[in-house]
Structure formats: structure tokens, C-alpha cells
Amino acid sequence: MTAHTLGRLIGRLILGLAAFSAIFPMFWTALNAFKNRVDIVTPTPLFIFEPTLDNFAYVLGRESVFAGLVNSLLISGAAVLIGAVLGLPAAYAIARYPNRWSRDIQFFVLSLRFLPPVAIAIPLMVIWLDFGLYDTRLSMIVTYSLLTLATIIWLSVPAFARVPKEVEEAARVDGYGPYAIFFLIALPIALRSLIGAVAFAFVLVWNEFLIALMLTTSDAKTLPIVASELTQLGRDVPWGILNASVVLLSIPPLLFIGVLSGMLNSAFKRKIQ
């Protein structure tokens, strides 16, 4: 009994440490974002200091950061929209109308995730250069649509499969056609998981780095690229500005944390009972 209690105590301690490691680094970065340079570059880490908004003002005032933010929002938003409009119906068709190709289609969609990003980015760079579309938002949107489409299909197939068949049968008996069943029955019922899938696709392209690095040079640069350039600023590193830009880059994905956790919960709902 005592051994059991002790075990639980140690287990809780380990979990506490893990939770601490999960959030403390980001908390520390956020704290540093409000510090003056002298408060960051100290031999002893400072928890109490005079906060400043200069770093954020500087970051948001920089033209490159602002342009990166706009690019990221437009490119990620458009790619997610295309992925959702085309991907959700496709996922529904795969889930509800299985045929002899369904497994192959699913494997094809998954296999797109195996492709090393370099293998895609190099030829795409050459192709976009040839089309005169290199370093444009359009080429980035098209490229990212590949990512969002594959991801949304992959995550939405199980979400549609979990919609009870009986509900759709009942609607059919009531005279609903196949399209009406999709839009009026399946889509609303699966909505929570579908929003999760779409949010995940957004986080994925918002965070994407390698393809953006290779396919943009100035006009269509996304925020991760701009942020990474700030981190390479030679000797006299503006640490506060760096921390502020990292915080800024991380806010949009973190906004989706509730949605993503909801998607996990519905994906792993106990099937028996």
C-alpha cells in the first residue's frame, strides 16, 4: 500500500516535471520578449525586471515582419480554404462510397506524406521559375494546397466514417438525395472533428519552413522564414526582438490548441458502450 502511494507520488512528480518542461520554455521566451537587452544578457536569469513593449513595437513596425505576416495569413488561409472545399467532399466519398480503389486512394494520399520535402521543393522551384511564378503568393498557395488537401482528406475520412450510418439511412428514407445528405446531415454531424482537421492543416502550413525557404526570396516570404532570418543576425544579436518575433509566430497555432484537443478527444472516443 505504501509502496503504491509512493509510486503514485513519484509518478505525479514526473508528470509535473514534464508539464513544466512543456510550457516553461515558451513562458521564458514570452518573458524575454518584454525585457530590455541588458536584462536578457545577464549572467543570472532574471525573473523580475522592468517590462518593455519596445521589442514588440520594433518587430511589428518592421516592414519585413509585417509583409511576412500578411503573406503567411493569405497563403495559409487560401491553401486551407482550397484544401477544405475540395478535401472534405473527397473524404466523404472515400468514407461512404467504398469501391475497389478506396484503399489505393487512401494509400496514395498518405504516400504524399512520405515524399521528402526537398524532393518536391527543388523541382517546384525550377517549374515556378520556368512559369515566371517563382516567389509569388500564387505559387505558394498552389504548393501548400498539396499539403492541406492531403492532410484534410487523411484526417476527415475517419471523421465521416464515425457518423452513424442509421442517421443517413433515415434521411434517405425521408427523400434526401446523396448531396443533401452530405451537406445537411453528414457535414453538420461530423463538424467538430472536421474543424479539427482543418485547424490541423492550418497549423501545418503556418509552421511549414523548408518549402517556403526554397520557393520564396523576397515578395512571398512567410513569417517562419522572416523569423529565422532574424535569428541569424550575426554577433550583436537583438535577443529581445528575437524573442518577440518567436512569440508572434507562435500565437496563431496556439489559438487552435482547444480545437485540436477536441479533435483528439473525438477521434479516440471509446467505441464500446
Binding site: P43, Y92, F114, L115, P116, I120, L146, P224, A227, L264
Partner: protein, 286 residues
């Protein structure tokens, strides 16, 4: 339903068409340029057959990059799963459902962070002079600790960040998987006075074998995409200690010499290797 239903064709064709074009055209083009001697500064190249591929095998940096990539895969996949299973079981055993949900939410934070952010957060934490992670060592020994500039520790340090991002996330998934298991076998085992670790080792984990293999599979694919972490934290350095295949392909194609065709041949080999490996594993998982 006698009438033929148009929905599958209408819903599937556009998405599959776009995916096929977007995936197959670059793939075919990658193979096409890998047989040329195209460079960034010279748009026109000529066909040189398999020369790029042959050159690769006498390229010591390429061989090194294969080694780094394989080490990276083994370390990050292994550690992620170990941490995920360990923390997942602790979450299931040691805390109340409410605390469990709160912790699960916190454990999602690292994986949602952009990799560039995660990489920078830790790069600064490991800074030899001002880093919070190296501070305890510096305070005790009086010496700065520079893990990222040391060839012996650089790869492990970057791997730590990857495992931090994925291990905590997978712990949440392991927890959810444990929650879906039927409770009867556990109760039976408890009646037989099985110890807790025995219940997990002999009942729970074997029941979860298939999903755990799928998790390993997902992590193997994700580990191949660690470019951003390595790029921001070490840029392949010190020397070539953390230069993975995609990092090397990138520096050959863009930073150093602009040899796109050479980089492309490397990418094609990676593509073939991963396709074969993952198709094989996928068929076994199914």
C-alpha cells in the same frame, strides 16, 4: 437505389486530379533534372545520365549524411515512443481525470509551436552564456556549457528538442488509447494480484500493439522532416556533425554551389528509399 449515384465521382475527381498533378509533376521533374547537370546560375543543362548518382557514392559528405539521418531516425523515434508510453501510463495511473485533461492540454503546446519557434526557444535556452538550460551547469562549475558547438553533443541536443515536441504529444495519444481499452481484463488481472507494471507489460501494451506501431510509423515520417529544427539550431554544424540528407541536399543545391541536379539526385534517392521502406511497413501494419 437503382439510379447511379454521381456523388463519388463528382466529389473525388477534382481533389484527386489536383493531388495527382501536384505530386506527380514535381516527382517526375525531380527525376528528370537529376539526370542533368543543371545549376542555379545556369538555367540550361545537358543530360549526363547517371553521373550524379555515381558521384554521390564517392561523396564522403553524402555517406556521412546517410549516417546522421539514420541515427536521427533511430534516436528520435525510439526516444519519442519511450517517453510517450512512459508518460501516457503515468497520466492514466497517477492523476484524476480532471488533472489528466489539463496536463493533456499542456502537453500539446510543444508540438503546436512552429518548429522555427521551438528551435529558437531551445537554441537560446542552450546559449552558453545567457541560456536558462545551461545556467545550472554554469552556476555550479563556473564553466560555460556549449552543447550545440560540440560535435559530440550537437545532434543529441537537437534530437532532444524533437523528442520534447513529439514525445509529450504522443503521451497524450497513448493516454487516449489506454482510455479506449475495455476495463475487464485489468480487473481480472488485479484479482489475480498482478502488479501494475505486469498489467501494462503483459495486457495493456500488447492490446495496443497495432496503434503503437502506427504511431512509430507516423513518427518515422515526421522525423524525416526535421530540417527546420536543424537549420535554425546548427545549420548542419559544427562541421557536418548534424548534416542530415535533406540539410546536405539543401546546401548543395542552394547555399554552396547551386548544383540543383546533384541535389535533386540525392532527393530522388531519398524518395525511393522512403517510398520502399514506408510502403513495406504500411502493408505490414495493415
Amino acid at each position: 437505389m437503382k439510379q447511379k449515384n454521381s456523388l463519388p465521382a463528382v466529389f473525388l475527381t477534382p481533389a484527386m486530379g489536383i493531388l495527382a498533378v501536384l505530386a506527380l509533376v514535381p516527382t517526375a521533374y525531380a527525376i528528370y533534372i537529376s539526370f542533368q547537370n543543371r545549376e542555379l546560375s545556369r538555367p540550361d543543362g545537358s543530360f549526363i545520365g547517371f553521373a550524379n548518382y555515381i558521384d554521390l557514392f564517392s561523396d564522403r559528405r553524402f555517406v556521412n549524411a546517410i549516417g546522421v539521418s539514420l541515427t536521427w531516425e533511430a534516436v528520435t523515434v525510439g526516444m519519442t515512443l519511450l517517453i510517450a508510453v512512459g508518460l501516457g501510463i503515468l497520466l492514466f495511473e497517477c492523476v484524476s481525470p480532471r488533472t489528466r485533461n489539463l496536463l493533456a492540454l499542456l502537453f500539446l503546446v510543444p508540438v503546436i509551436l512552429p518548429r522555427v519557434s521551438a528551435a529558437f526557444v531551445w537554441k537560446f535556452a542552450f546559449h552558453p552564456l545567457y541560456g536558462i538550460a545551461t545556467y545550472p551547469y554554469k552556476a555550479i562549475t563556473g564553466q560555460p556549457l556549449d552543447l550545440l558547438s560540440n560535435p559530440a553533443t550537437a545532434l543529441a541536443t537537437v534530437a532532444l528538442v524533437d523528442v520534447w515536441q513529439w514525445g509529450l504529444f504522443f503521451a497524450v495519444i497513448v493516454l487516449k488509447l489506454l482510455e479506449t481499452l475495455p476495463p475487464q481484463p485489468f480487473e481480472a488481472a488485479k484479482l489475480d494480484h498482478a502488479r501494475t507494471w505486469e498489467i501494462y507489460a503483459f495486457i495493456a501494451l500488447p492490446m495496443l500493439k497495432a496503434p503503437l506501431i502506427s504511431l512509430a510509423f507516423v513518427k518515422m515520417i515526421e522525423s524525416l522532416r526535421a530540417f527546420d529544427l536543424i537549420y535554425v539550431m546548427t545549420r548542419g554544424g559544427p562541421g557536418i556533425a548534424t548534416e542530415t540528407l535533406d540539410m546536405y541536399a539543401f546546401s548543395q543545391g542552394f547555399i554552396e554551389s547551386g548544383r540543383i541536379s546533384y541535389a535533386s539526385s540525392m532527393a530522388v534517392l531519398m524518395m525511393i528509399a522512403t517510398s520502399i521502406a514506408f510502403t513495406f511497413i504500411w502493408k505490414r501494419v495493415q
